[in-house]
């Protein structure tokens, strides 16, 4: 048993007041722990982090949750919420618990450059703000205006990472082929702030969100297409309380509709066995499961197989909740399990629809040296190849 440390009701109240309103609902049954992906990997973080125990420490205002391996381990994948008998908003609680230390100026060292870059550049990738729109070069995308229906909001990762830029470009091409009326404001945008909010830096989130809302509202944005499920989450679930009310869709949802309406079709045959990794923020957090599958099945020649853990049971890639900037040793990365899942299904291509997932899965595939049997692709890239 751990040594009992300081108990403070004041601390509990502080956590609750930071947004952990459902903290006391938890009755410590441990169904969350059973579902937590950290239970699937060994190692130091896995040993330190127990989501049920973390809630308990918070409930009691007991020291110990602020250990970096506890407080910042959660990937906010939402798996814990699936069976929770009390519908405890565990992720909000984690966010609030993080907020207690982050608001006092104690973001872990590895996250300081990220927060710093968000402050200075409006993106977490230390990219110069003036280079945000560089990915668009040669694409001829109109600026968003009264004449365009949708704003296409491109995730920071796809603005700055050359690998990820291909996603943005593919999505643009698909939307153009389908005749969608859209424009961009990339150069003026800031990060949506989803992840920094999950990391507990509420102040920085508000700063980012307010600047985006001011921009969007000023330009008359009503509908937004996001390239990342994380931006989808932010605009849909975080922005309304700050005065940003938009009709937001992930590009997969929109393309799914266009497919049904016959406005887009795929012709080039792709005789491959394809499987899909459900991004947590597209699936569990936003309940989008079907359009991706319909789109992939619409590609001629594609043999679609489901991964064992799919849809609401999908296993996290470990890129959420700020974990995309965290370091877990080889053998302790969820992404590796995911690559193994896909290889076990003898899939040729593992498709997903999230820039973070791509980064994590690419990395895991390279680390496991499975590149010769499995290709990791973002859905837009695969669809684009079949246009």
């Amino acid at each position: 048993m751990d040594e009992i440390k300081e108990v403070s009701l004041e601390m509990k109240d502080y956590i609750v007041s930071s947004g952990a309103e459902t903290l006391s609902w938890c009755m410590q049954c441990g169904l969350c722990t059973n579902l937590c992906p950290w239970r699937l990997v060994p190692g130091e973080i896995s040993e330190a982090f127990n989501i049920r125990k973390m809630q308990r420490l918070g409930q009691l205002g007991l020291e110990g949750f602020e250990d970096e391996n506890v407080l910042f381990a959660c990937a906010t994948c939402g798996m814990c919420l699936v069976n929770c008998p009390r519908k405890v908003e565990i992720i909000d609680n984690v966010r609030s618990m993080r907020n207690t230390t982050v608001a006092a100026g104690f973001l872990p060292a590895n996250l300081r450059p990220i927060a710093g870059s968000l402050h200075a550049n409006g993106n977490p990738w230390s990219g110069a703000h003036e280079k945000r729109a560089e990915w668009q070069e040669g694409l001829n995308i109109p600026a968003f205006s009264d004449d365009t229906e949708y704003l296409l909001y491109v995730c920071c990762t796809s603005c700055f990472d050359t690998r990820s830029q291909k996603i943005a470009k593919s999505i643009v091409n698909l939307l153009q082929k389908a005749g969608v009326s859209f424009g961009v404001l990339t150069a003026e945008e800031n990060c949506c702030g989803e992840t920094i909010r999950k990391l507990g830096d509420e102040e920085l989130f508000q700063k980012l969100a307010e600047s985006n809302i001011k921009l969007f509202n000023g330009k008359g944005v009503k509908k937004i297409i996001t390239t990342s499920p994380h931006c989808l989450y932010a605009f849909k679930k975080d922005y309304p309380e700050l005065g940003g009310n938009y009709e937001v869709v992930h590009y997969a949802e929109l393309l799914g509709d266009l497919l049904k309406q016959g406005k887009i079709s795929f012709s080039t045959e792709l005789a491959k066995k394809v499987t899909f990794h459900d991004p947590c923020y597209l699936g569990r957090h936003n309940q989008v499961y079907d359009p991706q599958r319909e789109l992939l099945k619409a590609v001629p020649g594609v043999e679609f197989v489901e991964l064992g853990r799919n849809k609401e049971k999908s296993l996290c890639c470990a890129g959420g909740g700020g974990r995309v900037w965290a370091e877990a040793p080889m053998g302790e990365r969820f992404g590796e399990l995911r690559i193994t899942d896909a290889v076990d299904k003898q899939a040729d291509i593992l498709v997903t629809a999230c820039p973070y997932c791509i980064a994590m899965l690419d990395d895991a595939c390279a680390g496991l040296e499975k590149g010769d049997v499995l290709k990791v692709m973002e859905m837009s890239e695969l669809l684009n190849a079949s246009l």
Partner: protein, 257 residues
């Protein structure tokens, strides 16, 4: 043991540096942090207290937001905070700052004064050593290991290409180099307690100083930003030629070697 830690609030390391209309650094909207080297000093101060008992007081000079830095130090385990805040500080130089700090520190009993070896904003690396001189006490700078007994210190300091071991009687000033320790994260209890710890704010008048006493020795005549990065070039040719060309470019054009 009475321990004083001198800290500075600086721009976040990622901050984008922009000049305002007056050609001065624009601090608007910039995220502020405790100078990272000062964090080592805070940590060492707390460790000394934990080992030898006593009290740690953190002292800083700064604007309205400097209190945040002190609160952070208090959360880590420092006992008291002193902020000297005065409009005159905006234009003071290293010498003047030390005059102010020396007055503030003189009000606090101290056996050891700790600070970071350099502040990442102005990079001047002067204040702590100047302060030692102003207070007529010895100093050891760039310390990577510190052993303290009740009345003396044995410090290992980093020099170019090696280390020195220096013994010094207290009181003394120590500047902290990376490697001295790993700054702690405060417990949440520490954060809660910090809200109630004493934090004193002083003006120059409180220290018996006036702006006239602080005419700077050095003045900043202008500030500039570096030239924008040039587009990268690929050096053509076979390995041997390319390597030679690269070495030449680094030496003569980039001047980094």
């Amino acid at each position: 043991m009475n321990i004083v830690v001198l800290i500075k609030q600086t721009f976040d390391t990622e901050a984008k540096i922009v000049l305002d209309a007056n050609g001065k650094i624009d601090a608007n909207g910039v995220n502020l942090i405790i100078n990272p080297y000062d964090e080592y000093a805070i940590e060492e101060g707390i460790r000394l207290k934990e080992k030898l008992g006593g009290e740690v007081t953190v002292v800083t000079l700064g604007g309205a937001r400097a209190q945040e830095a002190v609160r952070t130090a208090l959360a880590m385990g420092v006992d008291k905070g002193v902020v000297v805040s005065d409009p005159a500080i905006d234009t003071s130089d290293d010498w003047a700052n030390v005059e102010i700090i020396a007055k503030a520190v003189a009000q606090i009993p101290f056996d050891i004064i700790l600070s970071g070896r350099i502040a990442i904003d102005d990079g001047a690396s002067q204040t702590a050593v100047r302060l030692a001189e102003a207070l007529s006490v010895p100093s050891v700078s760039s310390v990577i290991k510190l052993e303290a007994t009740g009345d003396q210190l044995v410090a290992t300091r980093e020099i170019d290409g090696g280390t020195e071991l220096i013994e010094v009687a207290l009181p003394a000033v120590i500047t902290a180099q990376k490697g001295l320790n790993e700054p702690r994260y405060p417990s949440v209890a520490g954060i809660m307690k910090a809200k109630k710890k004493p934090l004193k704010t002083l003006t120059l008048a409180d220290l018996g100083l006036s702006a006239g006493d602080l005419a700077p020795k050095m003045v900043v005549t202008k500030m500039t930003l570096p030239d924008p990065r040039k587009a990268g070039i690929r050096i053509p040719g076979e390995a041997a030629d390319a390597a030679k060309e690269l070495a030449k470019l680094l030496h003569e054009e980039a001047k980094v070697l």
